[in-house]
């Protein structure tokens, strides 16, 4: 049995299955983060006082992290483009850089969390820190998930390249769409939590 349109796009929709699937999944992710951002708005408007993000958080570290994530989105696209050009070695390089950038982001985030805990600032301290830890924690889980998937495609998953290059490139495209989404969430999180 062969399921149609796993590799080639269906003519009337112009999409292969996994690409449509990831877009639908991302729609549900938008609703998830949308619900959490709405919660943030509701909690903040209902609060008697609300701290400015920079009172608690390190804006410079977050700026660094923003640059790291944006950079990783660029390398992610480059890795897919390399596959489309048939250059597997370059794919490996760019995908490796993407994973390292993800790792870098998590390490910086870890330092940030550690600094908070050192000053006895926990999710239970106040509503601002509660929403900060929840939102960035959930985002961190998404980064971690993306790193695991990317790591698989960098390592064992890349064997598919030799058998079915078209399908492998499709997979990287889909993984890339997810990665860009995770990046985009951070682009919203950064100003919301650190700058406002």
């Amino acid at each position: 049995m062969q399921i149609p349109y796993t590799v080639e796009p269906r003519p009337d929709t112009g999409l292969f299955n996994a690409k449509l699937g990831i877009w639908l999944f991302l729609a549900s992710e938008v609703m998830l983060f949308g619900a959490l951002f709405s919660s943030y708005v509701l909690l903040r408007t209902g609060a008697t006082s609300w701290p400015h993000g920079s009172e608690y958080l390190n804006v410079w570290l977050a700026t660094l992290n923003t640059l790291i994530l944006i950079g990783s989105s660029v390398t992610m696209v480059m890795s897919w483009a390399s596959l489309k050009l048939g250059d597997f070695k370059k794919y490996r390089l760019y995908m490796g850089l993407t994973i390292l950038a993800g790792l870098g982001f998590m390490v910086v985030k870890g330092f940030e969390y550690g600094a908070k805990f050192e000053h006895h600032l926990y999710p239970s301290t106040n509503t601002f820190l509660a929403i900060y830890f929840t939102l960035t924690g959930l985002h961190g889980l998404h980064v971690l998930g993306g790193m695991i998937v990317n790591g698989y495609f960098w390592g064992p998953g890349s064997k598919l390249w030799r058998r079915d290059p078209e399908r492998f490139a499709n997979r990287i495209e889909v993984a890339g769409l997810y990665w860009h989404f995770v990046d985009l969430v951070w682009i919203f999180l950064f100003p919301t939590l650190y700058l406002l």
Binding site: Q2, P4, T13, S28, L43, P123, N126
Partner: protein, 593 residues
């Protein structure tokens, strides 16, 4: 089939299936949508029975408060039923878990996971779902979530006991079972997200050649809209569950306001949260969820009515447009569950207006189904009886909802038994009857055998009688002002005294309803083993699952060759046609000609 298998030899690693699957891969970790559908069906029916049993226990306490439960009272243990008498804490657990089990582990997995999984790929002429591995994962997430929920009965303090809606602050400070509830719910949500994505991609991408959107059977449309609701509404509960989880485990105060005093002691939390936030997030899911419960039922009933009246559906296109409109509107009515929270008259006015508007497409669909009966020579077989009973039962459920959607009337009716009667009419004699109709209708497709008609009728008539005996008196009690969630059924309230006798009527009806399911269980297993073999197209239906696939369909691939669709879904009794019914793939017409 074997030729196809050889062809894709090079892709063996990625292909969904091995050639000769062993027992585990064939029946347990199967990636075949038909097996997964059956797994969903068995699991969901088991949960439904379990959830119903919880309610039958509660009904004893309501009818005979303070008397020891017969038969099982002694088995429950002192923590649940002291001397066989149900404790209030245990009653609350049963209530919360009855709702949770029925909605999230019973009906939705049966309607979408079982019927959708088995029927949709067959009806659209697809070899399987678009993502068979995700399909399998979806079932196992559901299974783990369900087991987590059940296991919570053994947590310290028992299962969740803050109602199926888990309103904070109560749920935030409840016993450990609530945390289990949240974890179980997250698993169920992952399951439904994977499932919904899979259904949407399958329906959009894998329709057979010639199967255009307006040639889709109504059941497929219903599953399509349902999947969108699951995909976009469930994340709100996911967010809410994460926040409540943080409140309970990390000590945050998302849903806890300042200055909260519990049992005479100030709660040691930062405060600053909003209990209303939970209600908004919860109902943003739970109202679309109501339509998740009912739309697949519409789909099943539509298939069976068209088939057994031997006529096209009345107003197929209007029904489809109404369906899409219901799906859209269901996202902007949620606050009609919150009229009494003090959110303000302007917001109430908006939501009661949208609520009145959403009743219109539902009425269009129901009217179209009624009108479909007109002038038909109806075959009164068991699936048709259940489908026909669905119509007035859903009608009662829907119409009694209108007073609840009006903010002024809701002040009196809110949180009374009237509400319980209303939504149970929609879901129990409504959706569950449609589920039974679907089981009787597709049983020959799944097994190649037919269920016994006599036992089917012995199942139907008492069920129909007693289910009304359970829910009709709730309207009387509710209008008299009896609140829901009362441990003693209202004994302590002066205004409830005149309607207390109804508690016994409802309870006896509920137990008789339980007995009336015995013929179904017997019929189900007996027919599976010894039922009469049937032809591939037992009901002489037009849709692809009957017309183009054998009964049961071949494993892994469904169709010997991909069917080509040449016409709409319900071409029954077409004037001057060569055959009494014209199948979607055109075979019957060719044979007759």
């Amino acid at each position: 089939m074997s030729a196809l298998v050889e062809e894709r030899g090079g892709h063996a690693h990625d292909a969904a299936h091995h050639d000769e699957p062993g027992f585990w891969r064939k029946y347990v970790f199967s990636q075949d949508h038909k097996v997964i559908g059956i797994q969903y069906g068995f699991t969901a029916l088991t949960f439904l029975l379990f959830g119903f049993t919880l309610m039958m226990m509660m009904r004893w306490q309501l009818a005979y408060p303070g008397k020891p439960l017969p038969l099982i009272g002694g088995l429950l243990g002192e923590g649940q039923a002291s001397g066989g008498i149900m404790l209030p804490e245990f009653y609350n657990q049963l209530g919360a878990m009855h709702g949770t089990i029925m909605v999230f582990m019973g009906i939705v997995p049966l309607a979408v996971g079982a019927f959708g999984n088995f029927v949709v790929p067959l009806q659209i002429g697809a070899p399987d779902m678009a993502f068979p591995k995700l399909n399998m994962a979806s079932y196992w997430f559901y299974f783990v979530g369900g087991v987590t929920m059940l296991a919570s009965f053994f947590a310290p303090g028992g299962a969740a006991n803050s109602g199926w809606t888990s309103y904070p602050p109560l749920a935030d400070i409840a016993t450990a079972g609530q945390t289990w509830w949240l974890v179980g719910m997250l698993f169920l949500i992952f399951s439904s997200l994977l499932g919904a994505t899979n259904f949407l991609v399958t329906i959009i991408q894998l329709r057979a050649p010639g199967l255009t959107w307006f040639r889709l059977p109504f059941f497929v449309w219903a599953q399509f809209v349902t999947s969108f609701l699951l995909l976009l509404a469930f994340p709100a509960l996911q967010a809410a569950a994460i926040l409540q989880f943080m409140d309970r485990v990390a000590g945050t105060s998302f849903f806890l306001p300042e200055g909260l005093v519990v049992s005479g002691k100030a709660l040691e939390v930062a405060g600053g949260g909003s209990p209303l936030l939970w209600q908004h997030l919860f109902w943003f899911l739970a109202h679309p969820e109501v339509y998740v419960l009912i739309l697949p039922a519409f789909g099943i009933v539509a298939e069976i009515i068209a088939n057994n009246t031997r006529k096209p559906l009345f107003g197929y296109r209007s029904m489809v447009y109404a369906l899409i409109f219901v799906g859209f509107m269901s996202f902007i009515v949620w606050s009609h569950h919150m009229f009494l929270t003090g959110m303000g008259t302007a917001i109430s006015t908006f939501f009661q207006t949208t609520t009145m508007i959403i009743s219109i497409p539902s009425v269009i669909i129901l009217s179209a189904l009624f009108l479909s009966l007109w002038g038909g020579s109806i075959r009164f077989n068991t699936p048709m009886l259940f489908a026909l009973a669905f119509l007035p039962m859903f009608g009662i459920g829907g119409l009694t909802g209108l007073p609840l959607g009006l903010a002024a009337a809701d002040i009196h009716l809110h949180d009374t038994y009237y509400v319980i009667g209303h939504f149970h009419y929609v879901v129990a004699p409504g959706t569950i009857f449609a589920m039974f109709a679907g089981i009787y209708y597709w049983f020959p497709k799944v097994t190649g055998k037919k269920m016994n008609e006599l036992l089917g009728k012995i199942h139907f008539w008492p069920s129909f009688l007693f289910i009304n005996g359970v829910f009709m008196p709730m309207f009387w009690q509710g209008l008299a002002g009896v609140s829901r969630r009362l441990y003693d059924g209202g004994q302590q309230y002066a205004h409830a005294q005149d309607v207390l006798w109804l508690n016994e009527v409802m309870s006896v009806s509920a137990w008789c309803l339980g007995l009336a399911q015995i013929p179904f269980v017997v019929n189900f297993f007996w027919s599976m083993a010894k039922g009469k073999r049937v032809a591939d197209n037992h009901w002489q239906a037009t849709t692809l699952e009957w017309a183009a696939a054998p009964s049961p369909p071949i494993p892994h691939g469904n169709f010997a060759q991909v069917p080509t669709v040449v016409r709409g879904p319900y071409e029954y009794s077409v004037p001057e046609a060569p055959a009494a019914f014209l199948t979607q793939n055109g075979d019957a017409a060719e044979e007759a000609a």
